[in-house]
Amino acid sequence: MTKIVKILGTGCPKCQSMTGVVKDVIYENNIDATIEKIEDIMEIMKFNVMTTPALVIDDVITIKGRVPSKDEVLALLN
């Protein structure tokens, strides 16, 4: 089943590096997932996170406020 990955962040450097990490992991491991970047603050607040960037996988917030490592993202996606 295709996983829906959402990256919440208003476009700061940290959010961009999180997007990079997630994209790399999905591409390198051929994971069936779609990435959606959510940059609108009103949308972000619907997830009730206080620190960005945040990573949401299938509607569950898995990471907030920091940039994860590739291994971590891989573990979360499997």
Binding site: S17, M45, N48, M50, T52, V60, T62, A75
Partner: protein, 324 residues
């Protein structure tokens, strides 16, 4: 502490490049190498330290604490301290702001956080430590925190809730359910690589500003006559502090780039208090920040917020000049 670095700079410039210690170029280059390396080392350590504190800082619990307890005014102070130790990322400021207000924390207390968050940040602290020493750094950090405390308290007196954006008010009305959140707990050693990478990223991000700032500063050192500013700005004219602050408010300068230049101003006769007030207005208030806040507040509220904070900075500028 940095003796070895001075030896290295001496060796590099005077021996390796063979530029004489008695030439202008030699001393300027020596100065530049020493300052740049010293600042970068300080910057990395402080950013790294803040990264560790942040990784373990219980934001959610603090939110609950500020909300539940009767703290007799101390809540403004705590919120301000909290703003000082969170890393400044403008994009996190707004979500934190909403999270606070939504959690039932009074608007004034939230403002305390919002004032201090950009004002006292790890980059500014490291730069201050490197360029002005520990005493000025402490003055900067402590007064920044007090400024947030007092500014927030003042803003809290105004009953500003009606001036928030409509959608924020809507959030306040219907309590939102907690988003589903599962985080795999990681040990300190698992997090350490991420923290040091984060610190390195921040240092890399400001590297260019540090180098440019120090280079411009070093060049100015040689060309601006001694006591130049003393003649024009340092003579204790009452209008210098407000002028410095008002010029600085709309400016958006990276703390990393502005501190070395401010240091030259001080060396050439501008009073330290005026310089600190200028710094505070530059990093604390800016047009880009106002643009971000526009999403959660009405223009009127932003104007009141900036107005009060500007006033506080001007007053503290006078205070510094009296005390220092």
């Amino acid at each position: 502490m940095f003796d070895w670095l001075q030896h290295f700079a001496d060796w590099l410039i005077y021996s390796v490049f063979n530029i004489g210690a008695e030439t202008h170029l030699g001393t300027a280059l020596n100065f530049f190498v020493f300052d740049t390396l010293k600042i970068l080392i300080l910057l990395f350590f402080i950013v790294f330290l803040m990264g560790i504190i942040n990784a373990y800082f219980p934001i959610e619990r603090l939110k609950g604490y500020l909300n539940r307890k009767k703290l007799y005014g101390l809540e403004y102070f705590f919120s301000s301290v909290f703003g000082a130790i969170t890393p400044f990322c403008s994009c996190s400021s707004v979500p934190l702001f909403i999270g606070f207000v939504q959690g039932g924390i009074p608007l004034g207390v939230t403002f305390s956080f919002l004032v201090t968050s950009p004002l006292v940040n790890e980059v500014a602290v490291a730069m201050f430590l490197g360029m002005f020493g520990i005493k000025a750094t402490l003055i900067y950090a402590v007064s920044g925190i007090l400024l947030g405390t007092i500014g927030g308290w003042l803003l809290g007196k105004f009953k500003l809730e009606p001036l928030l954006s409509d959608w924020v008010k809507k959030i306040l009305d219907n309590k939102m359910q907690q988003g589903e959140y599962e985080e795999v707990k990681q040990t300190f050693y698992q997090r350490l690589p991420g923290i040091s990478r984060g610190a390195w990223d921040i240092v890399k991000g400001v590297l260019l500003y540090v180098v440019l700032g120090i280079a411009i500063g070093a060049a100015m050192h040689g060309y601006v006559p001694e006591n130049f500013f003393n003649t024009y700005l340092g003579g204790g004219q009452w209008w210098t502090v407000p002028l410095a602050v008002l010029v600085a408010v709309p400016m958006y300068a990276n703390a990393a780039g502005i501190v070395p230049i401010v240091q030259v101003f001080v060396a050439k006769g501008v009073p330290l208090g005026t310089a600190i007030a200028f710094m505070m207005a530059t990093v604390g208030l800016s047009i880009p920040e106002a643009t971000l806040l526009k999403k959660v507040m009405s223009l009127k509220l932003i104007a009141i917020f900036f107005g009060i904070v500007t006033l506080c900075i001007i007053i503290s500028g006078y205070l510094f000049n009296l005390v220092l």
